[in-house]
Structure formats: C-alpha cells, structure tokens
C-alpha cells in the first residue's frame, strides 16, 4: 500500500479510529501489528512470510546471544543473524545481478554458460526491514542495547507500517521503548502530524510526480541525444524529484507516526544546503548513512587505524552503500563517486585545517557541492552506463550539435521548483522545520496547508510508487 493512494487514506482513517478507541494498550498494539501486516500484504501477501522470518530469527538470535556465556556462542548467534538476513537480501535483491555477472565473467573467459532464468520478484522494502532487524541483533551483541522484553513490542518495531517499506530505518532503541507505555496523540500532535503528511504528499504527488519526473524521463528514458541545457535541466529535475519523493515519504511517515502518538527520527535535513560531502551525508538519508557508519564503517576500522585504512573503510562503505540502493553497477559507481568525494574532502580538510570560508565562499562551496552531487545523480538515474555517458557528455558540452528536446514548460517549471528547493534549503540549513513553523503567522500556515491540500487533489496522482520502494 502506498501513502499516495485512496486506499491508504481509508486504511489510515480506520487505524486512527481504532487507535483512539478505549481498548487496552496491548489490544491497541495488536491492532497496529495486524494493520501493519495488512499494509505490507497489500503488495504481495506471501512476502509477509519473509517479514515473519526476519522478525522471528532476530528475536531468537538476540535472546540466545544475550543468555550465552561463551563469547564464541554470542559470536555464533550474531553471525547467524547477519548471514541469514544478508542471505535473504542477497537472494532476492542480488541473485539475478550476481548470476548475470558470473555468466559474463565466464563468457569473458571463453566459457559459454547459460543459467536458467532467475525471475524472482523483489519483496518491497526488504532492504529497509532487513537493516532494521539486523540493527536489533547487532545492538544487543555490541551491548549497546538490551533485548526487548516483549515479542509483541519487538514485532511491532519491525513491522510498524509508517517506516516498514522505505524508512526512516529505525533502531530498536528508538521505537521499542515507545511501545512500552500507552501512547495517544494529543489534539495538536494529531493536527501537526496531518500537516506533515500533507507536506510529504505535496512533495511526492505535486512536485516529484507531476512537475519534475517528466523532464528527467524525457532525457534519461528517451532515445535522443541531449545537449547541455537539456542534460543539466533533466539532472537537476531528478535531483529535485528524488529529494521530494524520498523526503516526502519520510515526512509522511513521520506525520503518520505522530498522528498515532509515536516519534520517528529525521531522515533529511535540507540536504541541498550541504557544504561538502560529509555535511551532505549528515543531511541526506540520515538513518541509512548513520546505519552504515555504525555497523559497517566503524567495524571496518573507521578512522582509528591510520590514513590508508580510513580511506579503504570509507570507500568500502560507500561502494556497498551504493550497491544497497540497487543491484546494478551504476549504483556502485554512484556510491564510489561519493566515496571519492568524501576521501578528497577529508584530504583537503587535513591540508587546509585552519581555513575558515567567509559567507560568500560558503555559497560557492555549497553550489559546488550541489553541482558535484548532480554528477552522481546521473549514475543513479541512468539505467545503463551508455545512457549515463550520453547525459554526462551533454552536461559537459560533448553533444554540441544535439537538437533541443525539453519544451519551455519543463525548463521553466524545473528551474522554478528546484531553484525554490535550493533557496528553501539554504534558508533552513541551520534550522528545523518546526522552528520555522513556530515563527510563521497562523493564517499563513492555514493558507499554505490549504493550498498544498488543494494541489494534491488537483494533481490527481495515480499512485506512482515511491522511488525508494525498489531498494
């Protein structure tokens, strides 16, 4: 079930109604659990089994390792959890990719190998809930957290529908304690939660789907060679689309949880106002970058074993982070570019440790960061390297004789919307949405909310899936 659907509106109204009934807290949690399974089963009911497997496995592994006395036994249960989770993720998400590359490798060695078709559907959100359940076992193993005392609370942590399929990637310590005591949204929480949901859906349905997606599609999915203007406009359109799509999902999820009385963490902090790439990753998909830092980069040694090991850990983390997004080498290159950017930035920071840029230089550095991020989006958006090179060629003046493709309306709309996003991010770079909202007159808020709701209705979105569902 997607947030931007009529089905979800009815589903959420039912869940809210049930949650406000005078039932016991345990009954309410069971209601939420059943609702979350329904939410997930609406895509493909059999995949609920995978969710159960992941839930039960990590619950059991955490229970076992916390009671184990020998380090080797603790180690065994942790490894079992990691291998089982990554094995499941690997089979469903990377099986076809591995097989295709294996076949290509054999072919390059002169061995003709024709494997049977690997036609396995990708369970929606598997990358998200696998990481969530793994963090539970790993936190318990690392003694950062105690295991949950209630299986119901733990199962609800894994399955809670606002974050289930596209994050924010929750840690057990963030959510399980919230299930311990009865929670119900106050009237203001409910209204602010609904306002956040409206904002999130406005970003997704109106900005991403209605006004930005088409320009990117015409260049990235078309068969014409784009010139410089078309390539840049399509790429910045995608930069806006993916932000509005994913941040829109996160905002809607945070709002939905708030309406039910729960708090979810920020996943985006105005990322296009980033100055440098470490700053970008503190603002973009925060819960994923923090997950990769805590469970991959730091265990790989982090920055505690000299420069070479630090760079190796950094690059490994970003390459795997790229691969997490999709089973394609283009995603690996996307991650690799970010790894390279982070490494160069680290080098420059160590060389120019005393440098403090002035206000105008900060703007220049911010624009440079955004421009370089757009280069990475080319590999994220293009389905093939061929297409990526064509668009990059266009961006850097290699397709000088290309005929114009995008009509004026797309040039204007993309420039206006993405320009507006950049200005808003820059204005908000050191603030939170809430701190800004607190200073706006109530009538302006009311009007803005009404306009967003009106635009959502008028946009008549037809339930496009969120981009990150495929990850």
């Amino acid at each position: 079930m997607v947030f931007n659907s009529l089905t979800f509106v009815v589903f959420f109204a039912c869940v809210l109604a049930l949650h406000s009934m005078p039932f016991g807290w345990t009954t309410k949690k069971v209601n939420l659990l059943v609702a979350s399974y329904l939410f997930y089963a609406a895509w493909n009911p059999p995949f609920v089994i995978l969710l159960w497997v992941s839930t039960v496995l990590d619950w059991y592994a955490a229970q076992k390792l916390v009671h184990a006395e020998k380090p080797s036994v603790r180690h065994f249960w942790m490894l079992l959890s990691v291998i089982a989770n990554l094995g499941m993720l690997g089979y469903f998400k990377y099986g076809a990719f591995v097989l295709a590359n294996f076949t290509a490798l054999l072919s390059s060695l002169g061995v003709a190998y024709h494997p049977p078709a690997f036609d396995v559907a990708l369970p929606v959100g598997i990358s998200f809930y696998t990481f969530a359940t793994m963090s539970y076992t790993l936190d318990v193993y690392l003694r950062r957290a105690k295991p949950a005392t209630s299986f119901l609370d733990y199962a609800l942590f894994v399955t809670f529908f606002p974050h289930l399929v596209a994050g924010p990637i929750m840690r057990p310590t963030e959510l399980v304690p919230q299930f311990a005591e009865p929670r119900r949204a106050t009237p203001d929480m409910l209204r602010f939660g609904l306002a956040l949901m409206t904002l999130g859906l406005f970003q997704k349905i109106v900005l991403a789907d209605s006004f930005l997606a088409r320009a990117a599609e015409m260049i990235y999915d078309g068969d014409k060679i784009p010139g410089a203007l078309d390539s840049w406009v399509a790429t910045i359109a995608f930069s806006g689309q993916i932000f509005c799509d994913f941040a829109g999902y996160s905002t809607t999820a945070i709002g939905a949880a708030m309406c039910l009385g729960f708090a979810m963490p920020d996943n985006f902090r105005f990322p296009y106002a980033a100055i440098g790439f470490s700053d970008f990753w503190r603002r973009w998909h925060i819960t994923l970058s923090a997950w990769l830092r805590d469970y991959l980069y730091i265990p790989l040694g982090g920055n505690r074993h000299g420069a070479a090991r630090t760079y190796a850990a950094l690059m490994t983390t970003m390459l795997l982070g790229g691969l997490w997004h999709g089973a394609s080498w283009t995603f690996v290159i996307w991650g690799g570019l970010h790894g390279l950017y982070l490494a160069v930035e680290r080098l420059l920071r160590s060389r120019f440790a005393g440098y403090r840029p002035g206000p105008s230089m900060l703007v220049v550095l911010g624009l440079m960061t955004y421009t370089l991020i757009n280069v990475t989006w080319v590999f994220f958006r293009a389905h093939t390297f061929g297409k990526a090179w064509i668009v990059l060629g266009g961006m850097f003046g290699q397709n000088a004789r290309a005929a114009p493709i995008l009509p004026t309306v797309h040039l204007v709309m993309v420039t206006m919307i993405v320009g507006g996003i950049l200005l808003a991010h820059w204005q908000m770079r050191n603030r939170t949405l809430e701190s800004a909202v607190a200073r706006v007159p109530a009538t302006v808020l009311s009007g803005a909310w009404a306009l967003m709701a009106f635009a959502i209705v008028m946009a008549q979105g037809d339930g496009h899936a969120f981009i990150y569902f495929q990850f």
Partner: protein
C-alpha cells in the same frame, strides 16, 4: 567491542557538530556515532493548531468546490475514469464466469462508437468493453487467446494506423491486470464509488500538471512541439463510452481536436529512427502474423472472432487510405486469419454518419451505428460458424 564514539567517523568527521550547526534544536543519528540511538524527540511548534486545521480544511474545500464549478462551466460532467483499474475490472469478468460473453476489443473507435445499452437492446446481452484508446487490439487479442476462460465472441476493432503499426499507447494495461494487487483493486473500487460519480474535475485531462503544460508557453526554438490528445469522451462504470458533448457542440474545441489529428497526418521530416515504407510493410506483416496465431488459438476452443473496421472520415480517412491501403492490410488480415470481417465501406448502413473530428462518431450517431451493426455481426458470425472443440 570497537570504540565507536569517536567524533571523527564517516558522517561526523567533518567538524564537531556544535561548530557547524548552531541553532539546531534536535540532534539526529548522524550526531551520535556508534551508540544506541535514543527515542527521538519531536516538538510541536507552538501555534493555534485547531484554528489552523479548521481554516486549512475549509479553505481547501472552498478551493476544490471552485475548481469543480470551473470545470462544470467548461462543460465537464462527472464520469468514470478510463483507468487501468477500470479496464482490469472489466477484464476480470471474463475470469469470473462471464467468459462466454461478447467482448469488444480494439482502439478508441470501438470504445466511442459502440454503445453497450443499444447492443444489449438489439442482441439481448451487454458486451464487455475492453477497447483501449491509442492502442492496437493485438495485446488484448493475444491475452484473451491465452486465457482458456474466454470462449465467447470477440469483436476486434481495427484502426489501421494503430493495428498495422503495432502502436500501443496503453499496452501496459494487460500487464497491469495480471499484476494488479489488492491495494490497486481497492483503490479502483473506492475511486469508482466515492469520487468519480460525483466530481467533474476528477479527470486526467484536468490534472494540475496537464493544465499547466497546456498553457501557451513560448515555443523553444528547435524543440519538437506536439499537442497531446485532449479529452474526447465520457465513460460509464462499465466503460461504456461516448463522445464528449463539447467536441460536438464547441466549434473551437472541435477545431483543436482536428488540429491534433493533423499532426499525425503530417509527421515531422523523417529521421533515422523513422521506419521506411518497406519496414512499415514488414511491421504490418508481423502484426498480421501475430493476429493469425491468436485467432487460431481462439477458434481452436470454439471462440468466434470477427474483425471490424469502423468509419473514419475526411482527412483521417485519406491518411489511412494512403498509409495503410486496404488491399495491403485489411484484406490480407482477413485472408491470413481466416476470420470474418466487417468493413464500413462494404455496408451502406454503416456509412453516412457524423464524425465531428473525423475519427469518432457523435454520441447519438454511435447509438444509430450500433443498432445498425448488431444484425450485421450476428449474420456474419452465423455465416462463419466455428466448430466446437
């Protein structure tokens, strides 16, 4: 256990948080490396949220009401969406016990020109409408050929420029039907009961982005300019569809509809990707072969198939005769498939209708044509019986 609280790890290694982000009222996981993340704290901005909420909802309702009034004054009336979900709902009927019925497939001419209530009155049974605008009948023909539940009578509309070129604007709908999930079915059910019968603005032609794109933006020199097809029809719950009154009554709108078709008649200068005449002939032959294979499958289990070429007029007919001459397309199709066919040029009772934009009949004319067509179809099918399997 690794020491993981260093402040210079991955995302946190740029600078200490306090230096770079003064004014932040909330920390995130990026500020707390290598530790168990605490329960998030979310603040509610101090505002009169009740007043804001009520004001927003009332204003939004007023804006929506204004939009509804605007589109009604433009000539729109509430009607059902010709969506993938609506098509799938009709397609599903075949697998739910109605596989022996008459099914209509083809392009927009079958959709607009054949009126189900009239057919029901003339033949005693309401057909299932599965035609898709801008789309060759072939994908649906092949889908039904592969579905053993379908054993009825199949009317296959042939719009030459679509059928013989294999153009499928909505070819994805067959895949959609086979993969349609519970959410999508529920969404279709809710939309067709709660929204579509009541709101005129709820039409893809009036969607915000479509309206914005339709404004008179200055042309970008060198960029292709193409006007998309505008709203031409109105549909009922079971996809019974007829021409929108505005096309008939509004001369300016009708002129626009015609202008849009003329883009097809005079395509831009050929480029390297445009098929040559020989290539077009090959593609047409391929379509006919696919149709023949599907018809063979259908007839093998006793299903009856009849092809139908509905009227077109004026420049549209001239264009079709030029690009897809009957002798090289329609006649070959009937000969290769062995199925009967009804071409409007062969029947006086199928000629002389009003086609406001040259391709589809006016609503009242569609009723008249349907009444005239049903006896011809019945007679043709009687003349070409299919042996029981």
């Amino acid at each position: 256990m690794p020491s993981s609280t260093s402040s210079s790890d991955l995302a946190a290694e740029a600078e200490p948080a306090a230096e770079v982000r003064p004014g932040f009222v909330r920390l995130t996981a990026s500020d707390r490396p290598g530790v168990a993340q605490p329960v998030p704290m979310r603040d509610i901005p101090p505002q009169p949220w009740n007043r804001i909420f009520v004001g927003a909802m009332l204003s939004a309702a007023l804006l929506v009401a204004g939009a509804e009034l605007y589109w009604r004054s433009y000539g729109a009336t509430p009607s059902y969406r010709n969506s993938d979900g609506a098509w799938a709902a009709q397609r599903r009927r075949i697998d739910q016990g109605e596989g022996g019925k008459t099914v209509l497939i083809g392009s927009s001419r079958v959709l607009f020109d054949l009126q189900l209530p009239v057919w029901q009155k003339e033949a005693g049974q309401r057909p299932i409408q599965l035609a898709l605008e801008g789309t060759s009948a072939l994908p649906v023909l092949e889908d039904l050929a592969d579905d053993p539940n379908f054993t009825g009578r199949l009317l296959v509309g042939v719009t030459p420029a679509l059928f013989f070129s294999g153009r499928v604007m909505r070819g994805g709908v067959v895949k959609y039907f086979h993969r349609e999930g519970l959410t999508q079915r529920t969404g279709q059910w809710l939309s067709s009961r709660l929204l579509e019968p009541f709101f005129a603005f709820d039409d893809p032609d009036f969607a915000l982005a479509t309206v914005v794109q339709r404004q008179p933006w200055p042309a970008r020199p060198g960029a292709p300019s193409h006007i998309d097809v505008r709203k031409l029809s109105v549909s009922d719950a079971d996809r019974n569809t007829h021409m929108w009154k505005k096309v008939e009554k509004d001369a300016e709108y009708r002129a626009l509809a015609r202008k849009i078709w003329t883009q097809t008649f005079a395509p831009p200068p050929p480029d390297a990707s445009a098929p040559s005449p020989a290539e077009m002939q090959r593609i047409a032959g391929e379509q006919i072969s696919r149709a023949a294979a599907a018809v063979t499958k259908l007839r093998a289990r006793g299903a009856q198939v009849i092809f139908l070429r509905l009227p077109s007029a004026g420049p549209f007919l001239e264009f079709e005769n030029r690009v897809t001459p009957r002798a090289q397309t329609w006649d070959v199709l009937l000969q290769r498939t062995g199925a009967p066919g009804i071409h409007f040029e062969d029947y006086p009772q199928l000629q002389g209708y009003t086609l406001p934009e040259w391709s589809h009949l006016a609503a009242s004319e569609a009723e008249r044509l349907t009444a005239a067509l049903v006896p011809i179809v019945e007679a043709e099918l009687r003349r070409h019986p299919v042996a029981a399997p």
